[in-house]
Symmetry: C2
Subunit: 394 residues, 2 copies
């Protein structure tokens, strides 16, 4: 809600008059679609065809629901904003059916293919395709004995990977959030362009980046319906942790060996990092602190250990296997411990990260704490996180 600042003026009158010539189709639209449209200030117009509907609502996930107004031609329309820059998920609710907008590209979020509108950030080009060498993103399939299935992952390779046939690279494992999938960091996050630009500017080392599918269930086990449970509820958290432990097994027993045999990696802990957003941050803490023999760089983007979401205070002496009990020993072993959160994220998440940050400070644990100004539990926060995190690696 905060940071979203909806002016929620239902079309026809005031909002159109404000800057009528300025609206442009969003870059997140499908080919040829004129709506959604965005103006220079970040106001957004959404239009849906639903001639026989009695009520159509717009549901921006980081803002309030807004009624659309019916026009004579069977289209429903609303103008919201200005919205903060970034990619904003939304759905439309047509007579009670929550669906995506056919004019928008579909992005996997919230456990389904949702719509999203990109509001440009004036002057920010770090996540756009620049006139620099572009790394490729490879789709790979690896077989996992843990899940007894073929699993799909995306792998970013720096642009010089194919030119230098002997060079070996460090690896960043980067995880999506709950309800998203392995495509999120590329399609929503533009992580490949962020790395392209940082590497071209010599602000980051060339590296391999692996984005895996963060859901896993053991062969023969029933599906885990963690998305069906109330987000943030104890039941959802337990289900998420159960799944994270299967993912941990898949990652350490199947994915990492596959990556290290398939690509020219530097296959040791000094050259292996893991980070993730939201649920992916939780998974990162679980995987890395259970396997400090494998990782030496750790990042939590709007998510860290599961106790971030609980009331319990972090205890460095016992939590995370006591790895943080001696800050000097920890700092000599783990090269980077990084936390980030947006300043307008929900209190439940922001409070948890702030408390963890304070606990780390109080215990003298070396870490980086980054706050993304004005952004919510959304992709603009995580793009900025990645931009800050990656230059500190390797």
């Amino acid at each position: 809600m905060k940071g979203f600042a909806i002016l929620a003026c239902l079309v026809s009158g005031a909002c159109w008059a404000q800057s009528p010539a300025d609206f442009q189709p969003a870059t997140t639209n499908v080919w040829g679609a004129e709506y959604p449209r965005v103006d220079r200030l970040g106001s957004v117009q959404i239009r849906i065809k639903a001639p026989d509907a009695t009520k159509v609502r717009l549901n921006f996930w980081s803002g309030p629901k807004v009624d659309l107004a019916k026009q004579a031609d069977g289209f429903w329309i609303a103008t919201v904003g200005p919205l903060v820059p970034g990619l904003h998920y939304y759905t439309v609710i047509v007579d009670g059916a929550e669906v995506s907008d056919p004019s928008s590209q579909a992005f996997f979020g919230g456990g389904k293919y949702a719509s999203a509108v990109e509001v440009p950030e004036a002057g920010s080009t770090y996540y756009l395709p620049g006139d620099v060498p572009h790394g490729q993103v490879r789709e790979v399939w690896y077989h996992s004995k843990v899940t007894a299935s073929w699993r799909h992952a995306l792998v970013y390779l720096p642009s010089d990977y194919d030119q230098s046939s002997r060079t070996r690279y460090p690896v960043l494992y980067l995880q999506h959030g709950a309800g998203e999938d392995e495509t999120g960091w590329i399609r929503q996050g533009h992580a490949n362009f962020i790395l392209d630009n940082l590497i071209a500017a010599h602000q980051a080392k060339p590296m391999i980046m692996v984005m895996a599918y963060g859901y896993a269930r053991r062969a023969g086990a029933p599906p885990v319906d963690f998305m069906g449970k109330p987000l943030g509820s104890p039941e959802a958290l337990v289900a998420m942790q159960d799944m994270a432990s299967v993912f941990e097994a898949d990652m350490t027993q199947a994915l990492i060996p596959f990556i290290d045999t398939t690509f020219r990696t530097l296959p040791d802990r000094d050259h292996r990092a893991m980070a993730g957003l939201s649920m992916g941050g939780m998974q990162t803490f679980q995987v890395t602190f259970n396997h400090l023999d494998l990782f030496s760089y750790i990042g939590g983007f709007s998510g860290a250990s599961s106790f971030v979401l609980g009331d319990r205070k972090f205890d460095p002496k016992t939590d995370l296997h006591g790895a943080l009990a001696d800050p000097k020993v920890f700092a000599s072993k783990v090269h980077l411990l990084w936390l980030g959160v947006g300043t307008t994220e929900p209190e439940r998440i922001r409070g948890g990260l702030l408390r963890l940050h304070a606990s780390f400070d109080a215990a003298g644990i070396k870490h980086v704490f980054y706050e993304s100004p004005g952004t919510d539990h959304e992709w603009q926060t995580w793009r900025r996180d990645l931009r800050d995190f990656v230059p500190r690696l390797f």
Copy 2:
């Protein structure tokens, strides 16, 4: 319509009783979604939550629209089929709003992210991930002076590409249909698995496969709204051809040079093929016959030259620059001319392909004509096309 054979029994009664224990969630569902469900015979159940709607219809694109029945819990449900095996696009129409089903994965088709349900084909594993080496699919970005933009393409590399650092490979350019995009052949078609399996069985040579985004407009030109025109209308055809000529320029001036400098290709006409489905078949004929210096293998899957859709009879003496005027000269130059169509495709398309096939026969033009039994203008036809086409290459 033909080949779809809808039993269209609206739930609750007869259909459920028929084989109630047999329904399984479709492989095309999002994680954890129990609907759509498919039974062994290919019957499909679709369920949508729309508590306040007054009418919900199901629109399988290769079949009739079917009303869903409202249940007490706010869900609407219908059972259709049995459907022929393959991937069937569909949308749902909620009080006049045509939208995708949140329980299905989204596949780009019809100019939007549509839903689809996969009906397995008993005994067919050629398009499934097998226990064989898997080629990678790379996402690449190339800059095009034709469009003055960064363009995205997918590139399949055979599984041994990285092991044999000197081997060079032939290249198949494979295009999607109108309303689809460069992701279609992988996500809907499983083209990578088809090649993996054929190559592992030594039925096809290891090759590179390039799937490009088939829409293009010249830098500064207005967008071409070919999807807004009635499909198959003269206006749509003209718009499609205009766009194809820009795509032709992009492909020959930007894409092919990019591929040949980026990957270890055999960069000559003897080792370069092009095929495409529907609109992609039309583009294939346009590009290859304008550039026989670049291509020697040509495939039209449910689409070929634009006159397939018109009434005009093909004239080998003058059409396609007269390249087919002398069948012997043509056969010595072009190693493969391949046409395919499903037996239950709409008359407009099927008739056109049959007429072209007859014209080729009458003129003594060597070619392959393949008919996919029982399948419509849908992906199962094109998967079979690819399986027949690829072993004949290189």
